[in-house]
Symmetry: C3
């Protein structure tokens, strides 16, 4: 389905979501989730301000009506209608006149990337501020500036949207993505868009063994809130999970392992990426300096959750600036990210463990039409080799992913042959998590 | 004993065995085993056609009286008396006249090696055919050909020959080799010849701790039949085993590990080959696309059986063709293969585990005459170093092979020093399989 | 404290210790320990000749009054007052006149290093002899030589000095060094000097969690005797130990792991040396051909004891010759060796294991002032990253050294942050040896 329709649809949703002023809470988030709910049938959770979630408290909801500065010449600058990054995200309200020197204390720019507006937030320390390119900052004239920050922090709620694709078993795969950054492309919209289109592809599967839980939430406080609601359930049911983030650029994929490092999530991602990229992807060990996997992999949960990305957050120069925009990403690449995520999920879904019904010696394959009937030739075919690997490793200790890793033969072929062998009475599936 | 007598004897047996038409069953196999029984006192098992062995049934015995084709000019071609490979092995009987076009459907040749006659079989699909060089096939004239395939498939038996060299314990080492291919040198006669001469060398040992079981059988169906008879016993008693195959050429050795990968068989083969070849040998992980190790290492048995070879089956161009002939092999190399196999077996035989009688600190070696009496010199000697390694690692957890691997000191020296230390009362042997 | 005072003090003690005729027992050892006791408050053990220690017996005490040879011209040569190495150490007494040919049977020299006097001993075989440079030996004139070896072997005792620095717990770190070689610099005096000054630095610590046991003893027989007295105690209490030897030259450090290979001693040494040397140090696996670690790591004890050295014994050309003298070593390097030993001990002392008090998700660090309050910036700081690693790995399964190894963040920072987090109520220390 990596087709032009999907690519065009992604671009269209991107354009609608781009200009919205998002933050960890508030109207922008809800507006964004409303749009995404056209793609994914969300269940919406509104968690009230003040709710205690482990060590955290759901913060006030941010209302942002308008924000700009009137320069000495009367020109309106730093208007969030021009670029949502201009306002220090979660700013407290302010109205007033001041000199450039006074204003400057509230300005943020990046001397090392002078044409980029930085993205800055102040969630837990009440202040206001504006972000601008260093070029623009250098050009500001002396004089009196009028500042308007028409915001509010009210008792409201934090928004989490969830959608569940039920499968034959209650064992779950989690897809977690965040929707709390304003107008940025790779490190904001790519995650929710790839997740939403992944949902649609999985929904089309005629059969799912596993249940898929998709969550769209603000980073950190959102995953903490979510875990306070569903963490116990996930501890019991989660087989694999992925934080999907920064998947919009055309660079090589990155997979960061879960804290445990050898979960089914980790092995599935590696086996799929090795095959699809000819081993040209970045494989990283877990590092607790990242996104929501920090919470999923906190020591009390230690869930099997890794990160699927391309250029990882912080690894690209455009990160957290206005340069992370539509020019930085590619919708073809984004659709390819959906392909990879889908194949990882589909691999996990089919990752069963098998036992031979009669484990002594090889079965007589010729008699069952499972083997070439003219012998004496070197068994070169991938299919025949994979079949022998399958029959040899079907000992209840190797799931199909482990077989693919050990033999270097394709997972899909193992799965197909396993189904054939089950029908032929040679294998039976074992209920066992490895 | 790697002497000219052995080499000459090997060559003489090779010449007698070469022209025989062997297959998985039948007269040629028995004739071959009769010849080999001059070297090894075989116990012969004749397993009747129709006997059920796990998922398999012992097939009919093949009778092959003659097979040839009369070409249009009256010349007899493709006669098995000229080369046993000419007949598709296990062919059904046929007599008749036909055009070249009709005959051609029954011909097999290798365009990529035009001067080689391929070796082809059809055990489980009834058909007849002839194999020839592609050069010859291209030169066949139009006209009427007369085909004679005077064969039969009768109720008979499958032949397995076994010889046991008893040792002090019932723990066993298995040597398995196959005798089911017609006139080929490396991938047929080298295995039985090396195994037979290995038997003779082991038989000369004044003392054997372990019992050695040698089996000569047809590939696949033979090892399956053998396992149906002795598999349960081997599960209990087998310490190490080796499939000996393709050991006739002068190329570097190959060792393919057992499925378990770290058995005594695997460690002994590695320690011996590392020393004898200066680490220039191929070490392969288990792959279930090979010879009889597929059955020995099937999940229900999972026996400690590896493969000793030089150029592995399928890794040399001459494999399964008429080019795998006497010119391809070397009797000196074959005798050297006996050396290696003997040393591997002898290493396993002496691979005991030891404990210090008094494990605290080093014993006073000088007093016992076990150490140089003028101290103060750097202890450089291999002998002194090995002695300290032995006394340090004699903790009941390291067998002598593990000591040799960890210390990089020679196994033989460990064994000699261990015996000395037992006599000196410093060590005692521990009954323990590691 | 790596200051000029320490360096000057080391040199001054070196000069006093240098000329003393030491051996495994006797007056020279006691004289040396008397001098070192100015630095370390020794408890002295005198173990009587004849005492049984495991397989060994404490030998007679060696008395050495004078030893020299009168050459044919009347010149006194090979006098131990000129160089203590001239006498075969532990020589039996002898007085007599003989030809050069007869004398030559008692001479030791090194043709491959003709200007060096070798160091030779004969502890367990009664003989006398002299050591000299090969150059000198080649120049000896024919004639009658008068030999005086005024020594004695008397019932006396073997000297071991010990000092204990008590800590909050009875768990121990052992520092073991030897004092049995006559005038050599690196392979004798560097070990006791570094150990003595290490003692002084550890004594200055305001707080020690662990107890430190320092032992100064003759090599081999000394550690065996010591283990016969304290081995059982060490089996119960020893957390980590180090043989300190050959630490006087300015070459790269060497760490040889304990026999177990992954003890706290091994991990602490590696984490400290990796950091301090930018990974430019030699890391060796245990080898039982060394110094007293042979006894500590004998199979019955198998204690967590490694070796801290620079150029390891036997790895430098000057080893066990008169060239291992003051020119070969550097007091700056020796003081740097104290630095490294101190940091290794101090790392072990602070190597606690922690658990999160509330292990679910991350704690809210901002609220506690533990985190930067302006978010939205890439978390680049070492401090912030280390804090997240600490909170993530504080699961009772990672001690601080394991955290430092896994994260590649500094141990010291982990320790500082752990104390901060304990005060903030986020972590608690777990009583657990890992």
């Amino acid at each position: 389905m990596t087709d032009k329709t999907e690519i065009a649809a992604m671009e269209s949703y991107f354009q609608r979501l781009w200009p919205i002023m998002r933050s960890i809470t508030g109207h922008g988030v809800r507006q964004s989730h409303d749009i995404l709910s056209e793609l994914v049938p969300f269940e919406r959770f509104e968690v009230p301000t003040g709710t205690k979630c482990f060590d955290w408290i759901v913060p006030k909801e941010w209302v942002c009506r308008e924000a700009y500065v009137i320069a000495p010449g009367g020109r309106r600058i730093l208007d969030i209608r021009e670029n949502t990054l201009h306002l220090l995200n979660y700013s407290i309200p302010f109205r007033g006149r001041m000199t450039l020197a006074e204003l400057d204390k509230h300005l943020f720019s990046l001397p090392e990337i002078p044409d980029a507006i930085p993205y800055k937030t102040s969630y837990y320390s009440p202040r206001w501020g504006f972000c601008l390119s260093h070029q623009m900052r250098e050009g500001l004239q002396d004089g009196i500036y009028e500042v308007v920050v028409d915001t509010d922090h009210i008792d409201g709620s934090l928004t989490i949207s969830q959608a569940i694709l039920p499968g034959e078993t209650a064992d779950e795969v989690l897809i977690s993505t965040y929707t709390c950054h304003p107008s940025m492309a790779n490190n904001e919209l790519s995650g929710p868009l790839v997740s939403a289109f992944l949902y649609r592809r999985l929904a089309l599967l005629p059969r799912r063994r596993l249940t898929y839980r998709f969550v769209f939430l603000p980073e950190t406080i959102g995953s903490i809130t979510f875990l306070s609601m569903f963490g116990t359930h996930l501890l019991e049911k989660l087989v694999a999970g992925f934080v999907v983030s920064c998947v919009g650029d055309a660079r090589p994929f990155t997979y960061m392992k879960s804290r445990r490092g050898d979960t089914i999530a980790d092995r599935a991602a590696q086996v799929v990426l090795t095959k699809r990229t000819d081993n040209l992807f970045h494989l990283l060990d877990f590092d607790p300096n990242g996104s929501d996997e920090r919470q999923y992999c906190s020591p009390g949960f230690n869930l099997p959750v890794g990160v699927i990305a391309r250029a990882l957050y912080g690894e690209f120069r455009e990160y957290h600036t206005s340069l992370d925009n539509r020019d930085f990403i590619s919708f073809e690449a984004m659709s390819n990210s959906v392909d990879v995520c889908f194949e990882i999920c589909h691999t996990i879904d089919r990752n069963l463990t098998y036992c031979r019904t009669m484990p002594f010696c090889e079965p007589q394959l010729g008699r069952r039409g499972l083997y070439e009937s003219v012998g004496g030739v070197q068994v070169t075919e991938e299919r025949a080799k994979t079949l022998l690997w399958l029959l040899n490793l079907a000992d209840g200790e190797h799931d199909l992913i482990r077989m693919a890793v050990r033999s270097k033969m394709p997972f899909d072929l193992f799965h197909e042959l396993a189904e054939t062998c089950v029908k032929a009475g040679l294998l039976k599936s074992v209920n066992k998590s490895l």
